[in-house]
Symmetry: C2
Amino acid sequence: MEAVNMKKKDPKIVVAVDESDESMYALSWCLANLISQTSTSNLVLLYVKPSPPVYSSLDAARYMFSTDVIVALEKYGSDMVNTVMRRAEAICRKSTTKINVERIVGSGDAKDEICNIVGKIKADTLVMGCHDYGFFKRAILGSVSDHCAKHVKCPVVIVKHPKQI
Amino acid sequence: MEAVNMKKKDPKIVVAVDESDESMYALSWCLANLISQTSTSNLVLLYVKPSPPVYSSLDAARYMFSTDVIVALEKYGSDMVNTVMRRAEAICRKSTTKINVERIVGSGDAKDEICNIVGKIKADTLVMGCHDYGFFKRAILGSVSDHCAKHVKCPVVIVKHPKQI
């Protein structure tokens, strides 16, 4: 249990990113407080986009989604991935420490996909922003950070944006 | 939001400790991963003991607690504080980084008291172990880490003990 044994040489830290300021703030906090000053860290930027069945279920509900609309939605999804990842990578480039940055893009329900990927790649730490949804939105969407804190096996850091404070 | 602006010179990190291996593991993780190698950190060991009204309510339920028993329970509580704090301080002494260690002992409901104290002393980060209570105990006791992750304003780190994995 000694501290000296718990310091990994090249830890793998996953930061769950999305289009929110909260997730970018969590990334900045991670770079400033969790990335070792003395060794190289592996930082994984993880983005989860909604899976295609989301569009199909809307379609089945007679929202009249033509192929064009589905293609447009998929393009929007890909554009969003790139926008979020570029924003996150720009923040990483400002860090003065040595980090290897890797992108992982998942697809499906964010809560489950984050837990799956964190387990699959054997991450050492998961860092997440915290969305202050309020009662109704939380009741419908559930809290991604609550779910992940319960289900992933590695330490989880939940970072709140100062605007929530 | 830049990382460089989020690094505090002498951060105040609170680790919630109790008699469990989980909390000591969380402390070790904190020392190995969150304490800066390049500046002095202020580490607060926070222990919350049950408040005296717990004994009174048992007494009111006709458990026939004499003054002797209450004194013995209070002595047990104080002994527990010292045992936990000494164990935690022994772990801190093994750390090779510069840290100022401070003890804070609260009294009352652990969930609320941790949130109160973290807010009052303006902690920069809260680190907690995670008890794997199982369904029934969780339903009765609630999860301290869940509650604190929701209610404190600073980043919260929830560390699971490997035996839960």
